[in-house]
């Protein structure tokens, strides 16, 4: 028998899903008989607020303080579990911007941080687990100073891409379950240090075809790294 590419793909997906849920099939049966809804999370999506303290002088044009707030999303799945220990992997996305005035000129900095998450968990109690996380990733930044002396209406801009590495840990507390779907609601808090390579911020006006005529403005080195903490809400299954 031969399978077409589409059928092969569907089969692989079905096997994959079966493999993913099969370890828990028996537990689901038991829980249907006697719920408590709480159980070690296998799949988890979270949304929260991540605040990073950037001490770099290059951040000063874009903020009146050292805090940089981002909206944080993550999705993790447990791929290994033994007793109270588990290991999860996933993806994280942190998006945020800061704005201020730089000597009277409106300025803004936007950072988009996409990272791969590797997380080890220890769950001493069904409503609580502790975790340690390492997150190598990638940061894309855009800096803008809208100075009146700019020859273009878009102001002065600079963009950069850089590798990042976050390391930290935290805890999650289960606040309860949603309905009978055994979807847990968790409050997560974590902190750590996020490292990003320093970037020389050289801004220039956008002159399209005449970009070669654009002079640059060096506002120093931005190292968007520092300690961070994050509070988020998660749904787990």
């Amino acid at each position: 028998m031969t399978l077409g590419p589409r059928k092969a793909l569907l089969l692989a997906l079905g096997l994959s899903l079966a493999g993913a849920v099969s370890p828990n099939a028996r537990a689901q049966t038991i829980e249907e008989r006697a719920p408590p809804a709480l159980r070690p999370p296998t799949w988890e999506v979270s949304a929260g607020v991540r605040t990073m303290y950037i001490k770099s002088a290059g951040f000063d044009p874009f903020s009146t303080n050292d805090g940089f707030v981002q909206f944080s999303l993550s999705a993790l799945g447990v791929i290994a579990r033994r007793d109270r220990l588990s290991f999860a992997v996933g993806l994280g996305l942190d998006v945020g911007s800061s704005s201020a005035t730089a000597r009277g000129a409106p300025s803004s900095l936007t950072l988009t941080h996409l990272s791969a998450l590797a997380e080890g968990r220890y769950q001493p109690w069904s409503r609580l687990y502790l975790f340690a996380r390492v997150a190598p990733g990638f940061v894309h930044g855009t800096a803008t100073i809208d100075d009146a002396s700019s020859p273009s209406s878009s102001g002065l801009t600079a963009g950069f891409d850089a590798f990042s590495l976050d390391a930290g840990g935290g805890g999650a507390f289960c606040l309860g379950a949603v309905g009978t779907a055994r979807v847990g609601v968790w409050l997560l808090a974590d902190g750590g240090y996020g490292w990003v390579a320093g970037q020389d911020l050289v801004l220039a006006p956008t002159l399209s075809a005449d970009q070669s005529k654009a002079g640059t403005l060096d506002v120093g080195t931005l190292a968007p790294r520092g300690g961070f903490f994050r509070v988020s809400m998660a749904l787990s299954y």
Binding site: G48, V49, T51, Y53, K55, A57, F59, D60, P61, S63, T64, N65, D66, G67, F68, V69, A100, A102, R103, G104, A105, I145, D147, A148, S149, S150, P151, L156, L175, G176, V185, L187, A189, L203, P205, L207, K213, A214, G215, T216, L217, D218, V219, G220, F229, R230, V231, M233
Partner: protein, 554 residues
Amino acid sequence: MTRTTRAFTKRLLWAAALAVVGCGGRGSYWSSPIASAPPTFNLGDEIALVDTGADRVVVLTAGANQSLTSTAIPVGVNVLNAAASADGTKLFVVSGGHRAQLGDDQPNEWPSITVITSGAKPARYDLTNITDPLAGLAIDPAGHWLVLYPSNGTNQPFVENPNELVILDVSQPPPVVAVPHTLMSFGGHPQRFTFTTPLALPGGPTPLLIVESDQDLSLLRLDDPSKPEITVPLTNGSDTQLLSPAGVAIYPGDPGNAATGASIGVRLANDDDVVALQFVPNVDASGNSIGNGFLPTVNLNNVGGIASDIAFVHTDSGLRLAALVPGASKATLIDPVTSLTQDVALPAPYQSLSVVTGALGSASGCDGGTTSAGAPTDVALLWNGTTVEGQAGVAFWELGQAGCQPYRSIDTVGVTDVVAAVLDVPTPNATLKVLQTRGAGAFYILNLANRTAAPLETSSSNVALAISPLGDQVWSYVPNGEAVFATDFAHELPRSLLIERPVSGVYEIARAGMTPAVVVLHDEGGVGATVYDATTLDDSTRRLYAGLLLGGAP
């Protein structure tokens, strides 16, 4: 989730978001304002912008491909004044300093003067013997001395003595102790300061500081400011009216010839007299010097009207003090020794006089005369001769009889606009002058050698001019407009730049190993610039900069 849990969670999330409010701060630099129209100076191969809000001077240098590099030089806090030396190579910045109050985060700082020289390390002179800043600044053209004096600007002390001076020798590297000196006051307020070269005085060559107040004249030895100054009260002797000096002219004398000592001429704002000072020794019976070692002798010379300008000139009769008397359309030549005067009728009421002999050199066969003693005679340019158009506003005044012009002849030039200023042109075109008119929509390139004046007409009467340091062209522009033209002296051919932002200034600066660049500044926001190659004026290679005062954060 219980209500309590939800409330707790909500508070925790808010706390996370708001925790940034109290965390850290940024340097004061980014919150400091950028002053409108920052003082800007052309230092030859760099442009200096005084950034008062950030207590610094931003120096711009031009490189290849019209690149512009900015370097921030910190100066003392509380910038009060800035001025460049006469030759434009040094910038002097006066800072008031800061007196730290109890618990003040900002440290105590003395008033100071920062000297910025192109291509050299800045020198900072702390004025540790004065507490309150003096904002007035007078600079010795020779670059040797600085004088600080009270001014009427902001940040001046509650109580100030208008006759208080602080003299600083900036020819020495710091630290240098400033010398305070209070002028003996007869009620006057200092108005102008004039530094002399070493004058041939009875005690030997001596540099003087001449202080014109509103009613007298003071002479202070710069080589020893601790000595009391000599005050020359100005009265005409016939009544009690106080006479106000309106300008001085200096003849340094010949140190090698005792017979030709120094002279100082003083014109008065409210009297028909012109004062001539000469100097005699002040010694005791044993020949020992008393006081400064010299005393001035005062000669009043009535010129028949209020003199608008004076200058020492060499005529074929010897040294004379020439005074222009526009009220009588004449000039008066005064013998500073005998006080004999001789009037010369002028065809127009010229108000300004410039001796152009040095600029002429040997370019013209019409000068180069000599006095009977063999000294060269002068040629003077008379200008500002009319307040209405259609009259001859510029003339040459020959003060010698040799050459192709008769003795003391007046040769008018066909400039019929009101001339407001005469701009010098550097070598190799020193025989040219650029005449700036007032409200006429034109400027002129005056050739001293052949005595022609080429008009350059402008569509606006509000025109600013800047002479190329290389002496090869003149830049003309409309302040806050978008028109900039370069007119080369070789062909008198105007060429325009393509400027797309309002212009606040045009500065031509040298580049190492390259043709010079011209930097057109735009006083908007953080100050922008358009940079051209000053020789090719090629639009395709120009570069546009913005936020020049945003970079270089400390």
